[in-house]
C-alpha cells in the first residue's frame, strides 16, 4: 500500500514538473517528419509568456493538420514541434538547445522569448549549424552571435528611440525618470537607448533607478527617489509580471508622471492586475496591434480568438511569426538541413505576417515598424505606427 502511494506520488510529481513540456504534436518519429524545436518558459517566472507562445504555435499545428502536412516541393511532410521548457533562465536554455540539437535532431529552433536566454543558447545553435530564431529577443547582441541566429522582432535601440520620440514629440516631456531591472538585458537595452534618444531630443533624465531581478516586489525605496526628482514621464521597460506592482506603488506614493514602457507590457494582465484607473494613459510600443486592419492580422486575430477566447498578445504573434519563418525556410531550402534552411530563411523578403511584412536585413534582423498603444479604460488603444528610418 505504502509503496503504491509513493509510486503514485512520484508519478504526480513528475507529471507536474514536466507537465505539458513533452507533449509533441506530430505522429512520432516517422523518418519523413520535420522536427522543429521550440524553447519557451513553461515553468518559472515567465510561464505565462510561454503559454501565449505555445498558443500561437498551436495555431500553425492546427493549420498543418488541416492541410495534411507542410507542402515541401510538392510533397506533403508532417511537421512536429518539440516543446522544451527553459524556465526563463539562460542556463536552462543552453541545456534545452543542446537536448533539441543532440537528441531530437531538430532542423531549426524557435524561441525562446528572452534576449538573455537566447544569448546563452544561440552560440550552441551557431556551432551546430542549426538555425535559431528568437521571438521577443529585442537585444541588439542577439543576432551578433552568428549567421545562424535570427529574430522575429525589432531591436531595442529602435524601441528605446520610439518611446523617447513619443515622450518628447507627442507628450512634450522634458524631464524623464527610469526604473529598470538590472538583471535583464532587455530592460537594460531599452534604458540605455531611451536615454540616448531622449537626451538627443533635448530632454533630461532626472533619475535612473535599478532593481535586482524579477523577484523584487518592493520598489518603494527606488520610487521615493524618483518622486523627489519630480519627472513628467516615468519609463519602466520591464516585464509585464513586474510592471503592475511598480505602477501601483508609484501612484500610491503620489507620483503623477505618465507611465511609458516597452513591448513587454503587451499583455491583458497589466491592466487587470494594476487596475484600470492606474494604467489609464500609460503608453507602450508593441510589435502589433489586434485592431490593425491589415487582413493577415485580422485573420490571425480571428483564428486566435476563436480558439482561445482572448486577443493574442505580442508573445503569441511573434512565436507564430517565428515558426512561420522557419517553415518558409524549410519549404525553400535547397537541401533539407540546417545550412539549407538557414540560407532560405536569410533570403526571406516581404513575407506577409500578422504584424506587417518580414524582410531580413544582412544582420538577420527583420525590418518592421512598431505601433504605439495607450491604455484607455483598461484596453490598449492604437495611436500610431512608427517605422524604422
Amino acid at each position: 500500500m505504502k509503496k503504491l502511494v509513493s509510486i503514485l506520488l512520484v508519478l504526480i510529481m513528475t507529471v507536474s514538473l514536466f507537465g505539458c513540456a513533452s507533449t509533441g504534436t506530430g505522429s512520432g518519429a516517422a523518418p519523413e517528419t520535420i522536427k522543429i524545436g521550440v524553447t519557451l518558459p513553461v515553468s518559472g517566472q515567465s510561464a505565462i509568456a510561454g503559454e501565449y507562445m505555445r498558443n500561437g504555435i498551436e495555431l500553425i499545428v492546427d493549420q498543418l493538420k488541416a492541410e495534411g502536412g507542410l507542402d515541401v516541393k510538392g510533397k506533403k511532410m508532417p511537421v512536429e514541434f518539440i516543446y522544451e521548457d527553459n524556465e526563463a533562465k539562460p542556463e536552462t536554455t543552453a541545456n534545452a538547445y543542446r537536448k533539441l540539437i543532440d537528441q531530437d535532431k531538430v532542423i531549426a529552433i524557435v524561441g525562446p522569448d528572452m534576449s538573455k536566454c537566447i544569448l546563452a543558447g544561440g552560440p550552441i545553435a551557431q556551432a551546430s549549424k542549426v538555425p535559431a530564431i528568437g521571438t521577443f529577443t529585442t537585444n541588439e547582441k542577439v543576432t551578433q552571435i552568428g549567421d545562424f541566429v535570427f529574430r522575429a522582432c525589432f531591436i531595442d535601440p529602435f524601441q528605446g528611440k520610439v518611446m523617447a520620440q513619443y515622450a518628447a514629440d507627442n507628450l512634450k516631456a522634458t524631464k524623464a525618470a527610469i526604473l529598470y531591472n538590472n538583471a535583464d538585458d532587455y530592460s537594460k537595452g531599452l534604458m540605455e537607448n531611451f536615454i540616448k534618444a531622449f537626451e538627443a531630443k533635448g530632454g533630461t533624465i532626472v533619475e535612473t533607478q535599478a532593481y535586482g531581478g524579477a523577484d523584487v516586489k518592493d520598489f518603494n525605496a527606488q520610487l521615493t527617489k524618483i518622486k523627489a526628482a519630480n519627472p513628467e514621464v516615468l519609463f519602466m521597460p520591464n516585464q509585464f509580471g513586474e510592471v503592475p506592482l511598480q505602477m501601483k506603488q508609484a501612484r500610491q506614493m503620489g507620483i503623477e508622471a505618465k507611465f511609458l514602457g516597452g513591448d513587454s507590457w503587451d499583455s491583458p494582465d497589466v491592466p487587470n492586475i494594476a487596475g484600470f484607473d492606474i494604467v489609464e494613459g500609460a503608453a507602450y510600443d508593441a510589435a502589433f496591434s489586434p485592431v490593425d486592419p491589415n487582413p493577415v492580422c485580422q485573420d490571425f486575430v480571428k483564428r486566435y480568438k476563436d480558439k482561445y477566447g482572448v486577443n493574442p498578445n505580442s508573445n503569441a504573434v511573434l512565436a507564430y511569426e517565428a515558426a512561420l519563418v522557419v517553415l518558409e525556410g524549410v519549404k525553400n531550402a535547397e537541401t533539407l538541413n540546417g545550412q539549407g534552411v538557414r540560407d532560405a530563411m536569410a533570403k526571406i523578403t516581404n513575407f506577409p505576417v500578422p504584424s506587417g511584412t518580414i524582410t531580413f536585413d544582412e544582420t538577420r534582423n527583420p525590418v518592421k515598424g512598431a505601433v504605439i498603444n495607450v491604455y484607455k479604460n483598461g484596453t490598449p488603444d492604437y495611436v500610431t505606427t512608427v517605422n524604422p528610418n
Binding site: 510529481m13 507537465g19 510561464a47 523584487v216 518592493d218 518603494n220
Partner: protein, 299 residues
C-alpha cells in the same frame, strides 16, 4: 530626515512579512532540526486559498467579520497542509540522515510550486489579489503611510507575541520545547512527540498563510512562484537572527527589511544583495546568528 523615516517605514513593512515567515522556518528547525524549504510555498498556498475564498464570497468589498473568517479558514487549511506534508514526506525520514529530509523538502517545494501551476484553475499567470482591507493614505509628520501598512505591521507583531506566548506559557509550548531539547527523553516523559511535531507544523504553516495574505495585501499580485523569493529572504532572516530562536527570527526579519530598503535607497543597483551581505558578516563574526546559542555536539 523625513526621507529616512519614510524609508524605515517601508523597511518595517517589508520586515514584518520576512519576520512572520522566518518564524515558521525557525520553529520547525528548532524542533526537528529540518530546514523546511517548502515553507515559502505554504505561504503561496495560503494566499491562493484566501484569494479563492474571497472570490467565492462574491469578491468586491467584504465586511470585516467575513475577511477575518476567510483568513482564519485559509490559515487552518494551510496548517492542515503543513501537517499532511510532514506526515507524508518528512516523518518517514525522521530517523534517516538529515540530508535526506532536506532534499525531500526541496522536492516538496517544487511539487507545491508546479502542481498548482499545472491545475487549469490556478495556472502560471499572476493574479490581482483583492483588497481585503480598506486603504487610506495619511501622513504622520511628513512620513506617508497607509492603513494597510500599519494594520499589517500591527497584526504581524500581535501574531508574533501570540506565538511567543504559546511557546513559553502553554502546555503545548512546553511540550514543544521539551521535544526541541531531547526527543527521546521527551517521549519517555510521556510527551506525544508525533503530535507535538504536527502542532509545530500546523502553527508554522498557518503563520506562513497569514504572512502570504499580508504580503499579498501590500503587494497585491500573487502567482505560484511568489513563495520562492520570499522564502529565501525569510530563511536568511531566520539564520541572521539565529535559527531556532523565535525572538531572533523576528529581529532578523526586521533587520533584513530595513537594511534592504535603506541599501536600495543608497544604491539601487546593489540593494537586492544587502541582506545577503549582512548574512555573510553575521556568519563570519557570530556564526550562530544574533540570538542563537552554540550547541556543543558531543562525540
Amino acid at each position: 530626515m523625513t526621507t529616512i523615516l519614510q524609508l524605515i517605514m517601508y523597511g518595517l513593512q517589508l520586515g514584518s512579512i520576512y519576520a512572520l515567515i522566518a518564524l515558521g522556518y525557525t520553529m520547525v528547525y528548532g524542533i526537528i532540526g529540518l530546514i523546511n524549504f517548502a515553507h515559502g510555498d505554504f505561504l503561496m498556498v495560503g494566499a491562493f486559498l484566501v484569494y479563492f475564498l474571497a472570490k467565492a464570497m462574491g469578491g468586491g468589498t467584504l465586511s470585516y467579520p467575513v475577511v477575518a473568517l476567510i483568513i482564519i479558514i485559509g490559515m487552518i487549511l494551510t496548517g492542515l497542509l503543513g501537517v499532511t506534508t510532514e506526515r507524508i514526506a518528512y516523518k518517514p525520514l525522521r530517523k534517516k540522515p538529515r540530508l535526506s529530509a532536506l532534499i525531500t523538502a526541496i522536492g516538496v517545494s517544487m511539487f507545491l510550486e508546479n502542481f498548482p501551476r499545472a491545475l487549469p484553475f490556478v495556472g502560471p499567470q499572476p493574479r490581482p489579489f483583492p483588497a481585503l482591507f480598506p486603504m487610506n493614505n495619511f501622513n504622520i509628520g511628513g512620513v506617508g503611510t497607509n492603513s494597510v501598512q500599519i494594520l499589517m505591521i500591527t497584526l504581524s507583531i500581535i501574531l508574533m507575541i501570540g506565538l511567543h506566548y504559546i511557546t513559553t506559557k502553554t502546555k503545548v509550548g512546553s511540550q514543544m520545547r521539551a521535544v526541541q531539547f531531547d526527543k527521546d527523553a521527551a517521549a519517555l516523559m510521556g510527551i506525544n512527540v508525533n503530535n507535538t511535531i504536527s502542532v509545530t507544523f500546523f502553527i508554522g504553516a498557518a503563520l506562513a498563510a497569514a504572512g502570504g495574505v499580508f504580503y499579498a495585501s501590500i503587494y497585491p499580485m500573487i502567482d505560484v512562484y511568489m513563495g520562492i523569493w520570499l522564502g529565501t529572504k525569510a530563511f536568511v532572516a531566520a539564520v541572521l537572527g539565529g535559527i531556532g530562536d523565535i525572538r531572533g527570527a523576528m529581529l532578523g526579519g526586521f533587520i533584513m527589511g530595513v537594511a534592504e530598503v535603506l541599501a536600495t535607497a543608497v544604491n539601487s543597483d546593489l540593494g537586492y544583495g544587502a541582506g545577503f551581505v549582512i548574512l555573510i558578516f553575521i556568519l563570519l563574526f557570530k556564526p550562530a546568528g544574533i540570538m542563537g546559542k552554540f550547541t556543543i555536539e558531543k562525540v
